[in-house]
Symmetry: C2
Subunit: 340 residues, 2 copies
């Protein structure tokens, strides 16, 4: 292991704040020495970096729920990897850990917030990368938004946008396991086929189709009881027209707005009144109290094949910016990762 | 009483469905004979007709939560009056009753939905007209939206639009009684002065002022925890910028949209996500289970001077259309009524 420690740490920093679409020039690659440990610290070699839509808002200094990444700082991000050196009593070399080490190949931690998912003797029961997806932050996001806010009842219709994405794919599968009709919205026939055939949704509508609204109507013959919102914009307006009385809209993301320089104006807001819809924004970190239980439930479903996962993996940290931009434009299928 | 019964019944019918603003030509006045009673019926002479924003949507055949008024039918509306003839065992001549008799001087009922608020021997403890306002449907609307959806805690800031109106004026006074900071939004300095000086709100902001946004910001130094929404449109966008994390927006009305031919696009929808706001539409009739308790609480507050009421009264049924149009444009202060 000491041989590895003699290598440098590759990092990607935030170089400038984007206006509109993110570009590769907003990032900067650097190499730094791997720090030596103090007592109580662990050194982790990261195997996978998670790329997620929330990172876009952290690149901006517009007021938001979380502090922006500072210019010249390592980009924020979830990682899974392996302890390569430890001066912490609770972590040993070979432990597999999930952390928030950001866009870099090594990370140092005092153990706080570090989630142990396996060890050299008892490796993780599911593939390591899945702790960043369906059994990680995106999975808990799906679980918390669907059950804590959406509160679907068996037999109801659950609709989810970005259905082929890391969060959306879990929302629909959880809805099916709960006895609901699960309908997705995704971009393009390939994603829609994946959502129906691989993930088992009852239907999926292509928002790029010229008759999207008519297809959406046909896909939800009994209306929509829960709409798990990941995208916003014109899709939200179309969905508002299909919501049932007393339906619920957990607002998890509005990705169509993140790179827009002018916000989309939601025209069908009146449906919230006339149909008595509950619309509620949420952020997964607000649900710390159910995190452990949600992760266990999700990992059980995954281990036993009841929830299927798919990953789009970019190779090498140097490709993280391009993969991130691709994800914001919907190029990925399932969870977008970078193998480090 | 038989002398009165020999008179005709004045009625105002819906003549055509408005596009955009309502005009007097959308209505038609007729005179019809007063019907004779069957067993189990009562005849009521209406003293006051309530004029309310919801009537605008009943004039339209756009899909809504309630059936539209049919062309040629009596306009829908709440009334308070006096029983002048009874063949119903539970009602006697002289009883004071609240009902939904619509825009007409007389109404016949089988007693269902008729609320007795006084009798010849024991007249109503508050002025009869107030059962159509702060102790009636608008008051219960304020009560249900504020407490059931808004759920304010003492010390929080409650903001309400259309604050000088029948619903908004009660929202702010209930918020004050609950220990909250109450801030109103109203149109023009007279209404704002009324809201602060007569109703006891802590502040009121004039949405017609050129620096409305700056004044709003100054009026809510700790942000907004509950925004009771009556108007929508650009005001909603301005308020979304002032909402606190985990705040609540009961959506009671969107009066700025009702007469618009093109819906306003809500641009700051992203605030719902970033601040984890709960936005929930409601209609007072959904809260039948708390109606009786709410009316008693409100009537107690009114009787003891803890909730103040103000009425704008048009004289005579023939002036109802003009008064209704004026109310939609904000010409009234407090509850808009017609004395019949």
């Amino acid at each position: 292991m000491n041989l590895m420690l003699s290598l440098h740490n590759n990092q990607i920093l935030l170089k400038r704040r984007p206006t509109g679409w993110v570009t590769p020039d907003d990032f900067e690659s650097v190499q730094t020495p791997i720090p030596s440990l103090s007592a109580g610290q662990v050194l982790v070699k990261n195997h996978f970096l998670s790329l997620d839509p929330y990172m876009r808002s952290r690149m901006s200094d517009a007021k938001s729920y979380a502090e922006p990444v500072k210019l010249g700082e390592v980009m924020v991000g979830g990682t899974v990897g392996e302890v390569v050196e430890s001066q912490h009593p609770k972590f040993a070399v070979g432990d597999q850990v999930v952390g928030m080490f950001g866009w870099q190949t090594y990370g140092v931690s005092n153990g706080r917030g570090l989630q142990k998912v396996g060890s050299a003797a008892a490796p993780s029961r599911i593939p390591l990368s899945v702790w960043l997806g369906a059994a990680g932050m995106p999975g808990v996001t799906a679980y918390a938004g669907l059950f804590e806010i959406g509160q679907p009842k068996a037999g109801e219709t659950v609709l989810v946008s970005a259905a082929a994405g890391a969060v959306g794919s879990v929302v629909g599968q959880l809805a099916k396991l709960h006895g609901c009709r699960a309908v997705g919205i995704a971009g393009g026939p390939e994603k829609c086929a994946y959502v129906c055939e691989q993930l088992g949704f009852d239907a999926c509508v292509d928002y790029k189709s010229p008759n999207f609204r008519a297809q959406l109507k046909a896909a939800v013959p009994n209306g929509v009881d829960v709409y798990f919102e990941n995208v916003g914009g014109a899709i939200l307006d179309a969905v508002l027209a299909r919501m049932n009385n007393f339906s619920r809209i957990p607002v998890c993301g509005l990705i169509s707005d993140y790179n827009a320089t002018e916000a989309y104006g939601v025209k069908n807001f009146v449906a919230i009144l006339s149909k008595r819809i509950k619309v509620q924004g949420f952020i997964v970190t607000d649900f710390a109290q159910i995190w452990g239980q949600a992760v266990q439930t999700l990992a059980d479903h995954i281990e036993h094949g009841r929830i299927k996962t798919h990953e789009t993996i970019a190779e090498g940290l140097e490709n993280a910016p391009t993969a991130f931009i691709g994800m914001l434009k919907g190029a990925n299928l399932g969870k977008q990762l970078v193998r480090l």
